[in-house]
């Protein structure tokens, strides 16, 4: 029934995760740039080190991920995580992605140096720009080399020589024409050129079947990366002699961006076509860009492992052709490029930071005034925030995660089962009964607590000599342990030996059986709750009553109002914000109440006085952890709805007051 949930999660996953990958990559690209800037190191070196670290990290991650190193018995299906992480071509792709990232970052750095290099002479500028352009262009070249290396032993070149020559000629002519254009026309020209190439290629492929191992129907061939390379080769000399630095940079960027765009479009073409990765050897930048997808697949393999396998396969197949995924990849690539560009282009610090300098700053911190304020505020809040996070925010997220799993410590395998817990919950009669009772209990209690509390508050506000004593007395029920009250009243409500049934029998000859009959038990529990919290509500309302000026009542009296009138037209409207606040507080607080029914009736008779919190406790005790989590989520939803309504009411009452 809840397959739709998994389907939509997987669909979202393919888009969201890809986007997230690119965003993370963009953020990660900032770190080497920042570090290099701090240390006045060569950014390129730092990037290289970072990439090496990333590769090493991938190996470590691989060895650490439990699913990737699992051993399994004959006939057992390996998990998706294992399958993907142990696939050599995947790991090759992973390395490729990392190398490309390093190259891209190096390019950024080169261009940044080019931009800063205002004073250098033409020759050095030429050198720098040539290096920059070359590195930009090396991106697809490396990919291409990689592909050739892969294909060398598998391909027969005969089928592709002719189209290769034809396309190369097209590139040369188109490139020469295009680089002579200026400004937006050049951009347009490059785009049109690449569009023409792609259209031609698709048409070329569609006229025949996948003739060789190099192609699959609709795919873009591996020589696609040659387009920007040829363009760059043509443009490099021209750039130096003809244009100023800014234009060189601009063109370098356009070329680089074009390379990536072409590759992305090629990838899109493959994606929309009938592309089967396992059986296709065609290798181009589309494949390169596909590598991140495969990396992501590996990362998301854990989710797939959780989802029933048939479902995951179906959704994977369905998602393979989704244009949203493609868009996400394109957008992510653009974001990454932009970030790397901006990061590398940051001006270096004027003064290199030495170790001694750093140590000096650590010993004698010289923060600005606002920095000091933030540090102070942060360090003051940190203990409270850390405690709350550790005991509330983070465990709550875990509860949410637990609610879509099947987890019982007595029956170990922890499984993802989507919304099946909630499905069970919606048909659970005990949950329904306890939900009904919880809401009834909370609303009736709160109503009596506030109404009686208002009356008691008037009493406590009256002017008489024992007022202090009365206020002390009214604090007692709040201060007394709920357990004591519950157990005491349990005894007092006892049918045979209890005082309350006895008194009722004697005074009103009422023969109710209090804790045996469900309705009476519910009334008894509610009564105890009212007893416990009414004086507390009264004390809070008293504070509000004291805030109302006596003059108002005097004036009303002069106008001939009786006490009902002054209650209706003065007290209640003036107290409205407090009444709403208290009601909301009592509602939310009592929704989570656990100890009263637990200690007084144990939820019985039957489940008639079981509140939701106690139902959760019961489920935890019988080790149904995940089901308990699902009931908890239901409880939190109820609390949120009621609390939200309370906040709305509070805002209203404050506006009208």
């Amino acid at each position: 029934m809840f397959d739709w949930f998994d389907t939509s999660v997987l669909t979202l996953f393919s888009t969201v995760v890809i986007t997230r990958f690119w965003l993370v990559a963009a953020l990660a690209a900032l770190i080497p740039a920042w570090w290099a800037r701090r240390k006045n190191f060569s950014a390129g070196l730092v990037y290289a080190i970072a990439a090496g670290g990333a590769i090493a990290a991938s190996e470590i991650v691989h060895s650490l991920i439990p699913g990737a190193t699992q051993t399994f018995e004959r006939g057992e299906t390996p998990s998706a995580a294992y399958t993907i992480w142990t696939d050599p071509s995947f790991r090759a792709d992973f390395g490729l992605v990392l190398i490309l990232a390093v190259l891209a970052l190096l390019v950024m750095k080169g261009i940044a140096r080019l931009r800063q290099d205002e004073t250098s002479d033409v020759v050095s500028r030429w050198r720098t720009s040539a290096v920059g352009s070359a590195v930009v262009l090396a991106l697809p070249l490396v990919a291409w080399g990689w592909a050739v290396g892969k294909l060398l032993f598998q391909a027969s070149y005969g089928d592709i020589v002719l189209p290769l020559i034809g396309f190369a000629a097209l590139m040369v002519v188109g490139g020469v024409v295009t680089v002579r254009l200026i400004g937006w026309q050049r951009n347009l020209g490059l785009l049109v050129l690449s569009g023409v190439v792609i259209a031609l290629q698709v048409w070329f492929n569609s006229t025949r079947g996948p003739a060789s191992m190099f192609e699959s129907n609709g795919s873009v061939p591996f020589y696609m990366p040659l387009i920007p390379i040829i363009l760059g080769a043509l443009s490099a000399p021209l750039l130096v002699t003809r244009w100023r630095k800014q234009q060189i940079v601009a063109l370098g960027w356009q070329v680089g961006a074009l390379a990536w765009t072409t590759a992305a479009v090629g990838w899109l073409a493959r994606f929309l076509g009938f592309y089967d990765y396992q059986n296709s050897f065609a290798f181009d930048l589309g494949t390169v860009l596909n590598a991140p997808i495969r990396v992501l697949t590996a990362l998301s393999a854990y989710y797939y492992d959780l989802v029933p396998r048939e479902l995951a396969d179906d959704v994977n197949a369905a998602n393979a052709g989704k244009w949203e995924s493609t868009l996400a990849v394109l957008a992510g690539a653009l974001v990454l490029l932009w970030v790397m560009w901006r990061a590398a282009a940051l001006p270096a610090r004027s003064k290199p930071r030495t170790l001694a300098d750093t140590l000096e700053r650590v010993r004698h911190p010289q923060f600005s005034l606002s920095q000091r304020r933030y540090v102070l505020a942060f360090s003051l809040i940190l203990p409270a925030l850390a405690l709350r996070t550790f005991t509330t925010f983070y465990p709550f997220l875990q509860t949410v995660a637990l609610s879509v799993q099947k987890y019982n410590p007595a029956f170990p395998p922890r499984q993802y089962i989507a919304l099946r817990n909630f499905e069970k919950l919606s048909t659970d009669l005990v949950v329904r009964e306890s939900l009904e009772f919880t809401i009834l209990f909370v609303f009736i209690s709160t109503f009596f607590q506030v109404v009686l509390g208002l009356a008691i508050a008037h009493l406590l506000n009256a002017n008489f000599s024992l007022r202090g004593f009365a206020r002390t007395v009214s604090l007692i029920p709040w201060a007394v342990p709920m357990v004591v009250a519950a157990i005491g009243f349990r005894w007092m409500f006892d049918d045979q030996f209890g005082m309350i049934p006895d008194l009722l029998r004697r005074l009103f000859s009422y023969q109710g059986t209090w804790l045996v009959d469900p309705e009476h038990a519910r009334m008894a529990v509610t009564f105890v709750n009212v007893w416990k919290s009414t004086p507390f509500a009264a004390l809070l309302l008293l504070a509000g009553l004291q805030g109302i000026s006596e003059d108002l009542y005097e004036a009303a009296k002069v106008d001939g109002a009786n006490w009902i009138d002054s209650l209706r037209f003065i007290t209640v409207p003036m107290l409205m914000p407090i009444i709403v606040t208290i009601s909301m507080f009592l509602l939310v607080w009592q929704l989570a109440a656990f100890d009263l029914p637990f200690a007084m009736t144990g939820g019985g008779p039957g489940f008639s006085t079981t509140v939701l919190a106690q139902k959760i406790y019961l489920e935890i005790n019988s080790l149904n952890y995940s089901y308990a989590a699902a009931v908890s989520i239901a409880l939190v939803i109820v609390v949120t709805v009621i609390g939200g309504l309370g906040l709305v009411a509070l805002r209203r009452s404050e506006v009208s007051a």
Partner: protein
């Protein structure tokens, strides 16, 4: 006398003519209401205390007796022998004192920062901290239990204090922020201009100024944690950390009315009520002021 205006004299005559009952009807109504109120509030305590000094056999009289016919302290002796009472009492005290002190210190620090230092996101942090009290504590019990298992904090006083002080924190922060907002900021500014650093301002000025508020919150938090049931029930599974509230629940877990040790239960209940009662008597004015600040703010 002779200079009194006529109107007042006439009124005075009228007042004297009203009967005593009429003149005091308001007062009588108030005192009547007070008596009803006090009986309504106190009767359960009377009943518990009475049961605790009634011999076990007399507790099962039908109809129940309302007066201790043969008072005895046998129940207390019985109870202290039956449960490790002193250990539980010590645990309860450690738990309540520890939680209240930790929560008040951490909340006071956070409240000062939230009330005084404006930084981006301070409102969000404040709302997050205060609103999180609406999250039922039972909803995070399972993950909390597993986390505590991996940190081996179950059956430790530290673990219980961590949980409880975190639970107390939202309300404490709410109250303390409103207290700190009341103190004029000029005092601190003057001290800073005079060359005090921020630590001096905090320890030499804010702490003395806030002392009433801090002690109020400590009292309130002590009472709340003394009464707490759920956390000790779940996270204290051995005698070394079990609190009195857990002992009470365990004693009453017997399902049958006849075998439930009501004599011991009532004696234990009396012990549990005494500390909070003393605190309430000693600090009722402060506690009421502290509690109502949250509502009226």
């Amino acid at each position: 006398m002779t200079t009194q205006p006529l109107v007042e004299r006439v009124n005075g005559i009228g007042r004297e003519r009203r009967s005593w009952l009429e003149r005091h009807s308001g007062k009588i109504a108030v005192y009547l209401a007070l008596v009803v109120f006090v009986i309504f509030i106190c009767f359960p305590f009377y009943y518990i205390v009475m049961s605790s000094i009634t011999p076990r056999t007399d507790l099962f009289n039908i109809p129940p007796s309302y007066w201790p016919s043969s008072p005895t302290l046998e129940n207390y002796r019985h109870m202290i022998n039956a449960v490790p009472f002193l250990t539980y009492l010590r645990n309860s005290l450690i738990f309540a004192v520890g939680s209240s002190v930790v929560s008040v210190i951490a909340s006071a620090m956070a409240a000062y920062a939230l009330a005084r230092i404006k930084f981006p996101g301070s409102n969000i942090v404040y709302m997050l901290l205060v609103m999180s009290s609406a999250l039922p504590q039972i909803a995070v019990l399972v993950p909390m239990f597993e986390t505590f298992q991996s940190f081996s904090l179950i059956n430790t006083h530290q673990g219980l204090i961590i949980l409880m002080s975190s639970l107390l924190m939202p309300f404490s922060i709410l109250i303390l922020v409103s207290f700190i907002m009341q103190i004029p900021v000029e005092i601190e500014e003057a001290a800073l201009i005079d060359g005090a650093n921020i630590v001096q301002v905090l320890t030499r000025m804010m702490v003395p100024l806030l002392l009433p508020a801090l002690s109020t919150m400590t009292m309130i938090n002590f009472i709340i944690s003394w009464n707490e049931l759920l956390y000790p029930l779940v996270f204290a599974q051995r005698d070394v950390t079990k609190t009195l509230s857990v002992a009470l629940v365990e004693l009453s877990s017997d399902a049958s009315t006849y075998t439930r040790p009501w004599d011991m239960l009532s004696a234990l209940s009396v012990f549990m009520v005494i500390p909070v009662l003393l605190l309430v008597l000693a600090g009722q004015r402060m506690i009421i002021a502290g509690l109502s600040r949250g509502a009226v703010k």
